[in-house]
């Protein structure tokens, strides 16, 4: 012994090498449970091609797949049966989650009661599939006296199953119950990709009497639509986590009434029968931002923060990005300024602030961008903010346009820190928008979070025409905010609305009290843009009411004149700290237009893709017919494109 820790340190330094077989067994088991968990609770993920650097992962996957333990498990079962014949009851609860075992009922009556409890516990507890030990117990030379000892040893090893482990399994079991049993085997293997989508469960139906107030932040992102379009165009159905209905609906321009001269925006309401449910109505809230005289717009300082990491080396990524920015350049004015910051390996200022009129210099700088290196997003972002702050002048608008294919948080230990950083910088008046390019490792979740915190927009650019829409046609809206922190709160009248459901906006929900709290951030509206929100509401007494009325609830609201609800909007002028309140009653008399019918068709499309439970028999044909009949004035063909995508999805869904 020693009076120092050195001996101990030396002794502890080299653990025995793990047994390769045990290792393979544990890893195979881990993968099996992983698949079980995915297969039962999650739908299959999209069939993305992985970028080349991920190929080694596929190799690992192949290797693990070949290590399937099916024969070994079959052996375990039969050997265990033998053991039961010899002496003791060995409840074999298979660790594989799809083979629940039941407790043996023929326990010897003379066993102590603790043993009963033990057996019960073990029947549900998972057990390591330790073939060797069982085999020993069942091997011919084992005497009757020896077998019980082994049996006890085995019981002991079963006891090893830790409490947390069984907790995890309970979760899995519940999930399996929830999934349709027939689906469990038919579920295709989840394919690997590192895309991450911001997703939340669909908003549930709320009972007005219990929760009359619904509060959310507006959302001007459109990424979800372009992502699902690119997925469909490659012949795959988008997965439900790629669907954010509000972003699909808000992708399209709507001709809502323009606001009065002194107003930042106008809210218009329409009420129509729900296409997919005759027992309910859709209440559509359309918000139209004012379009200030374009010639009066303030000078613009733009910092392109461009991801030039190796994964951007792709015509649909860096190539498209260069073309898109060149396209946008034509829309800028001589007094606007451009700077370019790249990040990859180390962040660098590629183009210092340059007047937009100096097209040759800017185009040359764009042209020289080449991909290579890994992503140092945080550093690049800091440099971009620094550059933007250096460019800012009085009354000018500064915005960072982050163009990336995903891998943003490499090197940042906590993505939340990055978001907090962006949120802090928002106070300095520099906005941040995110443009996503390419597929494979698109980190939609981080994109959305950054844009949301940066008071900007998240758009996904998959084609040059999408670049045209986002960066040219809607340049003013995308780059010039007219109202910050726009929050919507609807109070439903329990006398006329028994239940309601907000379609989409799951990732934008706010707490009721946040509505009046000006410190709580919310979405921004750009010049001339529209935002649409759709509620499905059910009248009391309708056959479509899902919840039974409360016995002791009372709804006496004749005094409100049969209003459906009351809409409150809060917004701030850009840069202001205090908000303005706008209030409008929802009377139920507001008429539907082609605009709101089209929005309803898109919301229906989104729910079809999500496999929503609320649609009943309403299907692709109905969605296509509704969208087709509500095309209205569609100068750029966006709505025609939507109809075509619905038809494509219908074909793929068969």
């Amino acid at each position: 012994m020693t009076d120092d820790l050195d001996d101990l340190r030396r002794a502890l330094a080299t653990p025995p090498a793990p047994d390769p077989e045990a290792r393979a067994r544990a890893l195979a088991l881990a993968m099996e449970n992983f698949d079980r968990l995915q297969g039962s609770t999650d739908p299959a993920r999209s069939s993305e091609d992985r970028p080349s650097e991920a190929v080694p992962l596929n190799g690992v996957r192949r290797m693990l797949k070949s290590l399937t333990s099916r024969p070994a498990l079959a052996a375990t079962t039969s050997i265990a049966a033998l053991v039961i014949g010899v002496a003791v009851i060995l409840p074999v609860a298979d660790l594989r989650l799809d083979q629940p075992q039941t407790a043996p009922t023929d326990l010897p009556a003379d066993l102590p009661t603790e043993a009963d409890q033990l057996a019960d516990e073990l029947a549900t507890a998972p057990e390591p599939t330790d073939l060797g030990e069982v085999a020993k117990a069942a091997s011919p030379p084992a005497t009757a006296a020896r077998a019980p000892v082994e049996g006890e040893a085995r019981l002991r090893s079963e006891a090893v199953a830790d409490a947390e482990l069984s907790g995890g399994l309970v979760e899995v079991e519940n999930a399996v119950v929830a999934a349709a049993p027939a689906l469990a085997d038919a579920q295709p293997q989840p394919l690997p990709d590192s895309e991450a989508f911001a997703t939340a469960d669909a908003n549930p139906v709320k009972v007005t009497a219990e929760e009359p107030v619904s509060t959310f932040s507006i959302d001007v992102d459109t990424a979800s639509w372009s992502v699902l379009r690119s997925t469909l165009n490659r012949g795959a159905m988008p997965t439900p986590d790629q669907i954010r209905i509000e972003e699909m609906v808000n992708y399209f321009p709507y001709a809502y009434p323009a606001p009065d001269v002194d107003q930042a925006f106008a809210a218009s309401i329409s009420v129509m029968p729900t296409p997919w449910n005759p027992g309910t109505r859709l209440v559509t809230i359309g918000i139209q931002g004012a379009l200030p005289e374009v010639s009066d717009r303030p000078a613009l300082n733009l910092v392109f923060l461009i991801d030039t990491s190796g994964s951007m080396e792709d015509p649909s990524k860096l190539g498209l990005l260069k073309q898109s920015l060149a396209l946008m350049l034509a829309e800028l004015r001589p007094e606007d300024q451009i700077a370019i910051v790249t990040y990859a390996g180390s962040a660098g200022l590629v183009l210092p602030a340059t007047a937009a009129s100096d097209r040759a210099t800017i185009l040359a700088a764009l042209d020289q961008l080449a991909a290579g290196g890994s992503t140092a997003g945080a550093e690049g972002l800091e440099l971009a903010y620094q550059t933007a702050e250096g460019m800012a002048g009085d009354g000018e608008v500064s915005r960072i346009l982050l163009a990336t294919d995903g891998d943003f948080n490499v090197g940042v230990s906590d993505p939340e820190g990055l978001e907090a950083y962006v949120a802090k910088k928002r106070e300095t008046g520099t906005y941040l928008s995110v443009l996503g390019f390419g597929r494979g490792n698109l980190d939609d979740a981080v994109m959305q979070a950054l844009a949301q915190n940066g008071n900007g927009q998240a758009a996904y650019i998959d084609t040059l025409s999408e670049a045209q829409k986002v960066l040219v046609d809607q340049l003013t809206g995308a780059l010039f905010p007219i109202a910050d922190d726009v929050k919507i709160q609807v109070e439903w009248n329990p006398a006329t609305v028994a239940e309601y459901r907000l379609i989409g906006y799951e990732t934008r929900a706010l707490a009721r009290e946040d509505f009046n709290n000006d410190a709580v951030d919310a979405g921004e509206i750009g010049a001339g843009t529209q935002v649409t929100a759709i509620y499905e509401v059910t009248a009391p007494g309708s056959e479509a009411v899902l919840n039974d009325p409360l016995r002791y609830g009372s709804a006496t609201a004749e005094a409100t004149g049969g209003e459906l609800g009351f809409l409150r909007l809060r917004w701030k002028a850009p840069g202001e700290d205090s908000s303005t309140l706008i209030e409008t009653p929802i009377t139920g008399e507001e008429e539907a237009t082609d605009e709101t019918r089209f929005a309803a068709a898109i919301a229906g499309f989104g729910q079809l893709l999500q496999g929503s439970a609320y649609l009943g028999d309403w299907g692709w044909d109905e969605a296509i017919a509704l969208a087709g009949s509500a095309r209205g004035d569609d100068p750029f063909g966006y709505r025609v494109e939507a109809v075509n995508l619905m038809r494509l999805a219908q074909g793929l869904d068969r």
């Binding site: 101990l8 890893l27 449970n33 000892v149 006890e152 006891a159 830790d162 293997q189 690997p192």
Partner: protein, 180 residues
């Protein structure tokens, strides 16, 4: 190029259902899990079982991965907790096994033989309290700093420092005892 994707990214991707990321993650860390399990239990067989149980539970556990700590810190915590549960259950079993007659006798005999075969390390470790053992396994074995070990065990750095000096004292006392 991502030559070596950080654990945290893999864990986040795996938590979101990326199979390849999960495979890579467990493949990368199995030895680490096994190693710490061995340092905590002092037995190769137990370490193997513990590592397997942890691997089996990892998919479900990852659902609670929030990326708030370094992945290895999170993983160490999972291993330490699993080892604690194992100890707790072993204690329960020992009590429950009282009165199993011949079985128990045979088993106890086996345990004695096993214990005799254990090396100096196991003896030293088993004579320390579980708390000190955990601390030593992390600080000496895994070479964590006292702050990191504190994070894993959910204790302050000061507590770890105190435990280390306590362990030193105990070892010194043991050495004296053995010498006499």
């Amino acid at each position: 190029m991502r030559m070596d994707t950080p654990d945290e990214m893999l864990a986040t991707a795996a938590a979101q259902g990326d199979r390849a990321a999960f495979a890579k993650l467990v493949g990368r860390h199995y030895d680490r899990i096994h190693g710490l399990a061995w340092r905590l239990t002092g037995s190769r067989a137990e370490a193997e079982d513990l590592a397997q149980d942890i691997c089996a539970a990892l998919p479900a556990k990852l659902r609670h991965w929030r990326g708030e700590a370094r992945f290895t810190t999170w993983l160490y915590r999972v291993v330490v907790n699993a080892a604690h549960d194992l100890r707790r259950r072993q204690a329960t079993r020992t009590r429950a096994a009282q009165g199993w007659g011949d079985w128990e006798m045979a088993r106890q005999d086996e345990i004695v033989t096993e214990a005799a075969a254990r090396d100096w390390l196991a003896q030293a470790m088993t004579r320390l309290s579980p708390e000190l053992r955990d601390t030593l396994a992390l600080v000496l074995g895994e070479e964590l700093t006292q702050a990191e070990a504190g994070q894993v065990l959910g204790l302050s750095e000061g507590t770890i420092a105190w435990r280390m000096s306590e362990a030193k004292k105990r070892l010194r006392a043991m050495a004296k005892e053995d010498a006499t």
